[in-house]
């Protein structure tokens, strides 16, 4: 596990201003040897972040390091050889060429291209690479692109919504392959995904990104066992003062006759509730999308009122 402990990607104070979108300032450290998932609503800057890491878009400010090399000092073939990038949308301009022709091109481009691995991936995914790329179904095109991305044994995989268009079986094959890819222990995956189950199955760390900002990075298991919601019977006014003291308070709202309170420290909240002899009407652990919704809401309030934004 000698790859673990380092940083695969480091972004420091990265800003990008576009006419309709502002990204940053982004501070992000993607740990080497792990799977980190970027989770966030559409338009939160996930794809742009990937493009910045690959020098496909230039930041206005800040520094980016990928696998120990500073980005932006001209193209580095050596670095690109160590990275596998799967963009969100397939490149349209190569629709007319056949899969095998594109693979031929990759073979020349990547010094570590492994034709046996490529063949094996095609077989696993049941892809016919004699088809023209534009003639492939959406799912097959995705599988083909995934195979290309993995065939030069990159140290770092940047996957932008990799499963879009995949059927459930192909999805399972992909999850299996990515686990196998990580088995050696010194490789890194950074994945942007909307699919809750995918993030749960793959990720070690989760980065929440909303509105061009990184809201935080969490260890997945800690996050999912830490965030719980409780329901208390009665009106909001009755509970507001008491419940705003709850440890790890992340949200407190009137849910029509009951008050819903969200905590990010479930165990401390349990003890706190027991000590006060409060009796919740119910409790639930939270899924990633529930947690994201709370964070998005909180971020919105912080922007509006500039305060902690937890209590209404």
């Amino acid at each position: 596990m000698n790859g673990q402990g380092g940083t695969a990607v480091r972004m420091t104070g990265v800003r990008l201003r576009q006419p309709h979108f502002q990204l940053g300032p982004i501070h992000l450290e993607v740990p080497a040897g792990f799977v980190t998932a970027i989770v966030g609503p559409n338009g939160s800057g996930k794809s742009t972040t990937f493009r910045l890491m690959l020098d496909l878009t230039k930041p206005d400010e800040g520094g980016i390091e990928v696998l120990g090399r500073t980005i932006g000092n001209g193209k580095s073939i050596e670095l690109l050889n160590r990275v596998g990038y799967l963009p969100e949308e397939p490149y349209r301009h190569d629709n007319v060429i056949r899969g095998m022709d594109k693979a031929e091109f990759y073979k020349h481009w990547y010094s570590d291209w492994d034709v046996n691995h490529y063949r094996e991936l095609l077989r696993l995914f049941e892809v016919d690479h004699s088809l023209r790329l534009g003639k492939m179904s959406k799912g097959m095109r995705r599988k083909f692109d995934l195979a290309l991305t993995l065939s030069h044994h990159p140290d770092l995989l940047l996957l932008d919504e990799p499963s879009s268009g995949l059927d459930p079986l192909a999805w399972r094959t992909m999850i299996e392959l990515l686990h196998r890819y990580m088995e050696s222990g010194d490789r890194t995956i950074l994945i942007a995904s909307h699919v809750v189950e995918e993030v749960k199955r793959l990720a070690d760390f989760i980065v929440f990104m909303v509105n061009g900002k990184v809201l935080g990075m969490y260890e997945k298991d800690e996050l999912l066992t830490g965030w719980h919601q409780f329901y208390f019977p009665g009106g909001y006014e009755k509970w507001r003062a008491v419940l705003s003291e709850m440890p790890g308070l992340a949200g407190l709202e009137d849910a029509g006759g009951v008050v819903r309170v969200v905590t990010s420290s479930a165990r401390e909240a349990d003890a706190w509730i027991a000590a006060r002899e409060l009796v919740p009407a119910g409790r639930k652990s939270m899924e990633l999308d529930d947690i994201l919704a709370v964070l998005v809401e909180r971020e919105k309030r912080q922007r509006q009122y500039g305060m902690k934004g937890v209590v209404q």
Partner: protein, 145 residues
């Protein structure tokens, strides 16, 4: 290897796994020298992160229940009988403490707790349910009428 996780519990996953893996080793269900899955495999199998599994392996290694040999993997260590007895009771004591705490939270009297213990024990003997198959952490959730 049967490890069951309750993902709806506030109990940290590493703790849930640790308790169950320790029980499997101490009870001898995993014998000395058994090769455990790699950290990544185990994480995939239990659908949790490698950070959690690494922590479990490290903790159990520190307790002397596992040994990691560089380059080969993590194995079940030799547990001497004395240690086995202590560990064996440790796990039970911890579970009992949790059960009692759950009872006290809903204001059970001592007699009620004793009675519950007897009832549950009788049930278990009658069904002869295999050890370790009871749902994790269910004991405290019953409401007193």
């Amino acid at each position: 290897m049967s490890i069951q996780l309750n993902e709806y519990s506030a109990e940290p996953l590493y703790h849930q796994i640790e308790v169950q893996l320790r029980a499997l080793i101490v009870s001898g269900q995993l014998s000395e020298g058994t090769l455990l899955p790699s950290i990544r495999e185990m994480a995939q199998h239990l659908k949790c992160s490698v950070i959690t599994i690494r922590r479990v392996y490290q903790d159990l290694e520190a307790e002397g229940l596992l040994v990691t040999r560089q380059g080969t993997g993590t194995f079940v260590a030799k547990v001497n009988p004395e240690e086995r007895r202590r560990h064996r009771l440790d796990a039970v004591t911890t579970a009992m403490r949790e059960a009692v705490a759950a009872g006290l939270r809903v204001q059970c009297s001592d007699d009620e707790l004793r009675e519950l213990f007897e009832t549950v024990l009788h049930e278990a003997r009658a069904n002869r349910s295999p050890p370790g198959e009871e749902g994790y952490g269910d004991s405290g959730k019953e409401d007193e009428g």
